[in-house]
Amino acid sequence: MTADPKGVLTGEHYLDGDHAAAEGALAAGCRYFAGYPITPSTEVAERIAARFPLVGGLFVQMEDELASMAAILGGAWAGAKSMTVTSGPGFSLMMENIGLGIMMEVPTVIVNVQRGGPSTGLPTLPGQADIMQARWGSHGDYEIIAVSPSSPQEAFDHTIMAFNFSEKYRLPVFVMMDECVGHMTEKVVIPKADEIEIVPRKWYEGDVGDYLPYKADDDMIPWMVKVGDGHRFHTTGLTHDERGYPVMNAECQETCVGRLVEKIRSRVDDIVVLEEEEVEGADVVVVSYGITARVAIPAVERARADGINVGSLRLVTVWPFPENRIRQLAKKVKSFIIPEINYGQLYYELERCAGGEAKTILVPHAGGWVHDDKDIYDAIKEGAK
């Protein structure tokens, strides 16, 4: 399926990442948005507020992020593609209802334009310290999908990608942007609507009396309906059976949560998107994502020019973590370098998957700005020893 031309602003534009993410949502077919202003994400909401009235969408500024998150779940159950956008403090408030989205298997998208934390932290300056929160922030066991754009163009592309993942796997998907990407202005090319691939919802097409909201086939993804379709179904955040009815026992927990986890875990290699440069045969591999890739990749190029055998592996999807690829590479490389605007978050995943076979070197940054490329360069030199 391709995009509905009504929301697609085809052409070349100069946009910042926030505006580009808003256009990505429009192009993906998002028509219900609920959000609460927070720097540095507010411009996403502002653009959607301006654009929605003439494309048949409904924008509502809610009273807080708890409400925003709950509202987009409702919007999705009513059949819309829905989205919210926030930054650290708001992301924290959304966590409980993100869990509800996971449990009810609601396709929806949450854009987090990351700033420095903890707490109010650095509202106007970048951070990448919500990466583990995206993975584990809501209580209970689950798997998630998150993408991390490095440019306004990717803010557009990855937002569409996030919507497509959310529909394909029926879960809330995160766009983990940061203040730098959110506020940098670059050229963004928006293709024609018929060139934008859109994953439609997995609609139930069977008879009305037969619908079971959580019965899945081999792909582990249940069929979805929307309110008013006549199925008169029930759904709950409680552990539930195929009918969506609560069942309070260990056996049902196993079936219910087991599938939520497995539907992603068994597909990791289909989901993961990586961008590799000169990785084959490298001694050192620099793993980066989001804005940090924009600093890391030039450092890699400079080190190569200086004769170091170094490659770059950029995580387009940050979750699920590319476990298999890292394990493979760990057998071949001397070391992995990971610069992050935090004190080590994906670093732990990298270290775990490297399994002691390759060295893992963190280049931390507390937030507030991007790395000095010299720090990454020095780490590459260190890793090549």
Partner: protein
Amino acid sequence: MKKPAAAAPEMPHPMEELLRMDRIPHIWCPTCGLGTVVTAFAAALETLELPLDDVAVVSGIGCTGRVAGYIKVDSFHTTHGRAIPFATGLHLTNPKLKTVVISGDGDLISIGGNHFIHAARRNVDITVICVNNFTYAMTGGQVAPTTPLGANASTMPYGNYERPFNIPYLAESSGAVYVARWSALHVRRLTTAIAEALEKPGFSVVEVISPCSTLYSRRNRLGTGLDLMKFYHDNCVIKHGAPTRELDIGFQEEITVGKFVDLERPTYVDAMNKWYAGVFGDDYEPYEGAVK
């Protein structure tokens, strides 16, 4: 006195059409008021002859939160406090639905209090049925923002000294267009109120004073649910149009019930459509839902 269970198949449940019979018996205690609330809601839907496919029920968490699980319409059992924003998303995406929130006093007025006042302010076209049993029942009878002064609760073991909310006053001052209060005893009037609320465009609130026989009642030595019904019978005073600021409820004191607010105000979607039509003229297509 009771018919033996074996006779049941010959006598279909009168509300079979509206209940998830495969989930009955329900989890509520004997003489709890919640069954009556469900009955009144079902009767209201019946009176209005609403197509059940067009009704959605959203609940939060609590004993009352379980209502969504028993009513056979599209129904959502969400998180504690978030039934109203969830319902807002549902309704704004598809305004043709009758979206109804049925939840507890703690859920709607404490943890979800902010959503309650803002949905009222926006005049989102949903109906809220707030079951007020003066306590957090599901978690074992803790103090609620509705517990009368002096009443005992597990977390107010020496009696409650916090002033409670007066729900109709809160609703009216926040912008609700329809506000009524009845008790679980007033089944007929409650049914009428729910039906009126459902028909009312905008944010409508029906507070139902309901006996929690197991916790509130036992802890305060008020007898069974039946004794509380007797209390409502003797102590509820009907005063339609009473000023909502006078509707505080004291411990085992007179309870004013009735219809207090019934007025016209543009709903969220109507106000938006009117405004945008003025701004954009013919370029604006009136919003009737985000999903075609």
